[in-house]
Amino acid sequence: MTTESNCETPSYDITCRMSHEAAALERLCQVVRVRGFRIAQMAVDSADGTLNIALTIQGKRPVAMLQSQLEKLHTVAEVKFAAPVVAAASRIA
């Protein structure tokens, strides 16, 4: 995808808590991708069998749809969204 196409793409910060099972992160990333979002940043730490993930994602689809899909994952305990921000590039433009 070109940078241009990202210009007006809203960006969202998510935090997600999920159990640290085989393929946990792949599962999360797969859902984000297939439901129409791109991961721009990702930070992960793990403690006591739990993964804490902070993600910045970009996408034009309604983000509530992604939230309900992520919450549906069996290993996901919690998904929190920070208020949406429009991608920096579009503010400059």
Binding site: E21, A22, A23, E26, R27, Q30, V34, P62, A64, M65, S68, Q69, E71, K72, L73, H74, T75
Partner: protein, 566 residues
């Protein structure tokens, strides 16, 4: 007990009596344990895709969990289409595969594939069992998960060493309590009462929730005009006076018209698939929406709901019935209007009276519907014949109509019929298939023979991939491309090679006798029905078009004529 024996113990514990599988290297410890277990019936299919689709058919027809088993590598990859099929239609399924020994994972070992990675998008959940100690807990959780809430396939990949390792671990799993939702039922009922033209729109979720009876009761009590999705066929029962039939791409004019004109859609257990809604902009343009489903992620996905209620459909339907029973809905004009549409725009069972005329798809299916016993289960394949069944067979129960709705998997019907027959030993089970679809899992004829299943097979042979041909004709300027099957094998001889008797018919006057013959035969039998290559399914909505723009035969012929004159 080793890991493999724990699997069988979990089967016993959950009354899993029939499983469909195919052995191989990494799953051998489980097959070894099966030797000593007489209470689990293992059905050997002839291809892992057959196993998965048979497990799917078993689950659809019975409402129970379907179980399939395969080895690592090619065994697992062969399962994938069947598991994706179950995922798309939310069928409860447990999938068990052997994996290469733990120490070899990641070394490109013989028959190693990354099953977990490959299947993320087609499972409700999946596990790689990393030790025998965790296996009993995983099994409990997987079996519960596959069947609870919105059902779906759950896959457990088990390295061979885990199957062999001894463990005394007990299954420990406390199912999470479903999150309490406060159903906004009161608002929904008020909205229903305010509506002048409310329409009930139900789908496969009704039977998935085992809510067939509560749905019937609500439909009867509310007397709401109703439409169904492909997977909802049978929800209303064949005697329902208010059922307008299937909506969507090949739906009835009556159903699509009612959706277009209604002012309230009461959607229950349906996900507004594009084959049902057509172009979303033009779908039920004047209607508010109440959406009731087990899965909250379906709300507002494709159409915004004015009221969304997540929960157990059984409970919600009972509460709705209670509310309506006290004060019936005052919508008589709307009911009358829908009745008129039903009479003029329902599916007419086109009977062909001319004895020597070629057999037509709709007339054949209508005759089958009149002749087959009430408890008949029809397992369809995918194509024109599938739509003729949906349009012209009168189903009284959703579990009697097995069809691959979400994935549209050619080759579904034969293994699904096998699964359905195992689930209902005394019912008549018929696979209605096409000449293309039949060849996708024809190896399963051997499974029918081996277990002497009395499955009836009906091949609607138009010597082509008819559904694709139809769309090429209508939407690609009649440029036929790779749809010709006029070199099909001799299906009668083929069935006989599997020791299954067969007969062929190609004239209208042979239809009734042909159907009666296979139904009366005590065992499996195949009926090869030759039909015209040019026949189309009517009406049809152009893919991506609005349901308002249904094309039917007369309109197309008129357009053709105009073109020719021009």
């Amino acid at each position: 007990m080793n890991g493999a024996q724990h699997i069988l113990q979990a089967f016993h514990h959950h009354n899993i009596e029939t499983v469909f599988g195919y052995p191989g290297g990494c799953i051998m410890p489980l097959y070894d344990a099966l030797v000593d277990d007489v209470s689990v019936e293992h059905v050997l299919c002839r291809h892992e895709q057959g196993c998965a689709l048979a497990a799917d058919g078993y689950a659809r027809a019975s409402g129970k969990l379907g179980v399939c088993i395969a080895t690592s590598g090619p065994g697992a990859t062969n399962l994938i289409t069947g598991v994706a099929n179950a995922y798309q239609d939310s069928i409860p399924m447990l999938v068990i595969t052997g994996q290469v020994p733990s120490a070899l994972i990641g070394t490109d070992a013989f028959q190693e594939t990354d099953v977990l990675g490959m299947t993320l998008g087609i499972v409700k959940h999946s596990y790689l069992a990393e030790s025998a100690d965790e296996l009993p807990g995983i099994l409990e959780e997987a079996i519960e998960l596959a069947q609870s809430g919105r059902p779906g396939p759950v896959w457990i990949d088990i390295p061979k060493d885990v199957l062999l390792a001894e463990t005394s671990a007990a299954p420990a799993y406390a199912p999470a309590q479903p999150k309490a939702t406060r159903p906004e039922l009161t608002c929904a009922i008020a909205m229903l009462r305010d509506a002048r033209k409310p329409l009930l729109y139900s789908g496969g979720g009704i039977s998935l929730a085992h809510a067939e009876d509560s749905f019937r009761e609500f439909a009867k009590c509310s007397e709401l005009p109703a439409v169904v999705t492909l997977k909802g066929i049978g929800n209303a029962g064949k005697h329902s006076a208010h059922n307008l039939g299937m909506l969507g791409m090949h739906g009835s004019r009556a159903a699509n018209r009612a959706v277009d004109e209604c002012d309230l859609l009461l959607v229950i257990g349906a996900r507004m698939d594009d084959r049902a809604t057509g172009k979303l902009d033009g779908f039920a343009p004047n209607a508010k929406t109440i959406h009731i489903d087990a899965d909250a992620s379906e709300f507002n996905k494709l159409r915004n709901a004015d009221i969304a209620i997540r929960g157990d459909l059984n409970t919600i339907l009972k509460e709705l019935t209670q509310a309506i029973r006290d004060t019936p809905l005052a919508i008589n004009d709307w009911r009358k209007q829908c009745q008129t549409w039903r009479t003029t725009g329902g599916f007419q069972a086109a009977d062909n009276e001319e004895p020597l005329a070629p057999i037509t798809g709709p007339a054949f299916i209508s005759q089958l519907s009149r002749t087959a016993p009430d408890d008949t289960i029809i397992a369809c394949d995918v194509g024109q014949h599938q739509m003729w069944v949906a349009q012209h067979y009168q189903f009284d129960r959703p579990r009697h109509h097995l069809t691959s709705g979400g994935l549209g998997t050619m080759g579904f019907g034969l293994p699904a019929a096998i699964g359905a027959q195992f689930a209902n030993r005394n019912s008549t089970v018929i696979n209605v298939t096409g000449d293309g679809s039949f060849m996708m899992n024809a190896q399963e004829l051997a499974t029918i023979r081996r277990y002497n299943l009395p499955v009836k097979l009906i091949i609607m042979d138009n010597q082509c991939l008819g559904m694709v041909r139809q769309q090429q004709e209508l939407f690609y300027n009649n440029r036929e491309s790779h749809i010709n099957l006029d070199d099909n094998p001799d299906f009668v001889a083929m069935a006989r090679a599997f020791d299954i008797p067969a007969l062929k018919i190609d004239r209208t006057d042979q239809v009734r006798r042909g159907i009666e013959t296979i139904l009366a035969y005590n065992g499996p039998m195949l009926l090869h029905v030759a039909i015209a290559r040019e026949e189309n399914v009517w009406p049809i909505v152009k893919p991506g078009g609005s349901n308002k723009e249904m094309i039917d035969e007369t309109r197309r012929t008129a357009a053709d004529k105009k073109e020719k004159i021009a």
